[in-house]
Amino acid sequence: MLFRYLFILLVIFPIKAFALIEVDITRGNLNPLPLAISPLSIDEKSKSSFKKILKKENIGIEISAVVENNLKQTGLFNPLNKDAFLQKPDIANLKPRFEDWNLIKAQALVTGKVTFVDEKLRVEFRLWDVLAGKEMMALAFTTVPSNWRRVGHIITDKVYERLTGEKGYFDTRIIYVSEEGPKTNRIKKLAIMDQDGFNNKFLTLGNELVLTPRFSPTNQMVTYLSYFRNLPRVYLLDIETGMQEVVGDFPGMTFAPRFSPDGKKIIMSFAKDGNSDIYTMDLENRIIERITNHPSIDTSPSFSPDGKFITFNSDRSKYQQIYVMDSNGKNVKRISFGNGLYGTPVWSPRGDLIAFTKLHKGKFYIGVMRADGSGERLLTENFYQEAPSWSPNGRVLIFYRETKTNSKGEGFSAKLWSIDLTGYNEKMVETETDASDPSWSSLLGN
């Protein structure tokens, strides 16, 4: 039971506050909003109960630290140093002294309380507008204690949503390929972790090469490429049960899989006799449909969020370029016309943009363009990087980057990186091992 946790969510007070604080996330934010995250207050009895179960000295402080780190990582917020806080957490949660918080230049304040109730963890939290001296939001959750990090992520989602007007992306996971060993013989395993890098788990043992995992829309299943028995085929993996099965009975390599937005189909490439075309397989009735039929390489397909269109890359114009077609394969249109090669198109969950990898003059770029090919914008340039995946709110891209080796061929590494759609806030995403092929889940369902 990885994903199906019980969350009871209730609004403590139905409040209609005016949005006085606003964070504009459409531009690079050079002045992150200063906010104070007061540690969740906790009574002594609850504290010792949680300490016994979770081996954490003060779970209130731990949950607040999750929220603080999440907000800091966005680059949109500047969580203030706790040493400067004048008011104690328990009192602040009842009624903040706004003058005190104003003094340290906090514009928003998060307070809350955690208690141990019937073997469960109960959290309530409040978001305050310091300048206006008003409560903006108050929520409470009850869940199993082991879910405490997710509580932190859900609080972050709520705060982010209230302050930016956009859905959050914190109660999410990343599936990726963990890499170890020499560049000439990498050991690769499927791995999954929370978006902040915690709770890392390996899903395969590394006995066979695995590539390009992608979540189903409900995050229960993963589709990926495995070289099991040296036959590269698209597989399905149920994350809860660990059950794996090959997708379809193709007499050759299948690769580049993704789910359709309704989760009912897998779209992928099938390579035979030197030609790769795009196919779908219906997971219910197993019916296979051929979508492209062209002597060129057609691969990296991705559905639009409404399921009506497919973007993919093809070298039918001699070099790799991005195309869009109807979901039945009709009306193929090339959309990339800039200099260089274009690949790995992936449709934004908002439907307006397509993220891609571009190779031009020996450099690799991650960029975005509109679905009609206009408005191309390159976000980042590097020696090697590719395979962007969108955060569920369409504001952040995660991708992987590989380093150049030295003259002896040493020093290779592969890491995950993320960047805002604005081109700001580029940073490495910490992983236990080297990592590639990241895929971002949707919100886990808070």
Partner: protein, 159 residues
């Protein structure tokens, strides 16, 4: 007679000028690449005496060079003599491409070698194809020379 001679000469001149253009656009001559196809012997193994196990490709290309075709003809001759041996053609790409496209490119390269072996009388039943894309480079360097060694189709005994 005359006309064909003229045409022939003209053709030679054309070829010469093409080669010159190719040389002019070539960035570096390492002595181990031609165009950007690897011509050296690093990493090359032998299926039998004088029978090289691999052929190399230009960037983003799947066309067999003259040298590659010669290697494959020798492989075909060897396979005809050893009719019980089956082979896997392992197609590879360099690291300068996206992973998924490279899987397709590796498959296409291996098939380009397979087609050539078939035209020299080797039954398709004896040849299987496996693409590794950019997953199994032989040279871990980040130089054009390293990349040229990695763009390859390797013929491996399957039994």
């Amino acid at each position: 007679m005359n006309l064909s001679k003229i045409l022939k000469n003209g053709f030679l001149i054309l070829v010469a000028s093409l080669v010159l253009t190719a040389c002019a656009t070539q960035k570096k001559t390492t002595g181990q690449t031609q165009g950007d196809v690897y011509t050296g012997t690093d990493s090359v193994e032998y299926l039998a005496s004088g029978v090289k196990d691999r052929v190399f490709f230009a960037t983003n290309e799947t066309v067999l060079t003259t040298a590659s075709r010669e290697t494959l003809r020798k492989q075909a001759a060897w396979l005809r003599k050893n009719s019980k041996i089956n082979v896997v053609l392992e197609g590879h790409a360099d690291e300068r491409g996206t992973r998924e496209y490279n899987l397709a490119l590796g498959e296409r390269r291996a098939n380009s070698a397979k087609d050539y072996l078939m035209t020299y009388g080797i039954s398709s039943d004896r040849i299987s194809v496996l693409s590794y894309g950019k997953e199994r480079p032989v040279d871990s360097g980040s130089t054009p020379l390293s990349w040229s060694k990695n763009r390859r189709s390797v013929t491996v005994k399957a039994n």
